[in-house]
């Protein structure tokens, strides 16, 4: 058994309090729930109105990148974490069916290119990769100067 000092345990609890996990079917008609969660997290983190709206759009693009534009049998897992300086979101697409081809993460079509331009403009860092056979997409948005309430 590993002992944890009260100070370390307190930091871990504080970190846990500043994160939200969302798990939902990878269905286009449920994407609004992802946007609502993003807006709620950004508001909770005291980001300004413009950044709340920017995150709402950025998370939509991240989710479309992960899941494509068709309903699937898979699920999307999203982890939102925030500090006073930044918000990070990591999304993973998981499918029960191994034979199902994972979403195309390459910027090879016009919509992916538009999505990439939007993310480039709105967030500070973003990326896609594959972890354990599951497509993953992530973004990080720092608080803009002068927007702290």
């Amino acid at each position: 058994m590993t002992e944890t000092s009260p100070a370390v345990a307190g930091e871990a609890m504080a970190a846990d309090r500043n994160q939200v996990e969302l798990s939902l079917p990878a269905r286009p008609d449920l994407l609004f729930l992802v946007r609502m969660t993003a807006a709620a997290v950004a508001s909770r983190a005291d980001f300004g109105y413009d950044q709340v709206e920017d995150l709402r759009l950025a998370i939509d693009e991240l989710a479309v990148t992960l899941c494509g534009d068709q309903a699937s049998d898979g699920r999307m897992q999203l982890l939102f974490k925030w500090t006073e300086h930044a918000i990070e979101v990591v999304g993973v697409y998981e499918s029960d069916h191994a034979e199902r081809r994972p979403p195309d993460l390459s910027p090879s079509n016009a919509t992916n290119e538009l999505s990439s331009r939007i993310l480039e403009a709105l967030v500070d860092e973003h990326g896609v990769d594959v972890v354990g056979g599951c497509p993953r997409a992530w973004l990080r948005m720092r608080r803009r100067k002068g927007t702290r309430p």
Partner: protein
């Protein structure tokens, strides 16, 4: 609390030009309806179409992709697809993707028809 994406479309004619008024959020779940409507208008012989987005509160890349496909098709037929955008957040999406150079964007449907 909102439990689904709000989205509606309505067609009107203004001085002989088809105006498609869109309301709500145009995202990956609703953009296919916009695509179908634009294809339908083109099939019915409307080569000049104004898409009024003044009551749209949200667009994403899939919505932009549909509009780009629409303008390509209508221009290939000798027509055009003009936009009405008044919402700052929506205009920003066109700006950051460089699509303000592709579309004629107007403040009112009347301006778009007269252009």
């Amino acid at each position: 609390m909102t439990t689904e994406v709000q989205f509606e479309m309505a067609e009107t004619e203004l001085r002989g030009v088809m105006v498609l008024r869109v309301e709500g959020e145009v995202d990956v779940s609703t953009a296919p309806q916009l695509r179908e409507r634009l294809l339908s208008l083109a099939d019915r012989g409307h080569t000049l179409v104004v898409v009024d987005l003044s009551t749209v509160s949200f667009v994403d890349s899939t919505a932009l992709g549909v509009l780009v496909s629409g303008v390509k098709r209508l221009r290939a037929a000798g027509g055009d697809l003009r936009l009405v955008v008044t919402e700052r957040r929506v205009l920003k999406v066109f700006e950051i993707t460089g699509l303000t150079a592709v579309f004629a964007i107007h403040p009112t449907a009347d301006d778009a028809v007269r252009a």
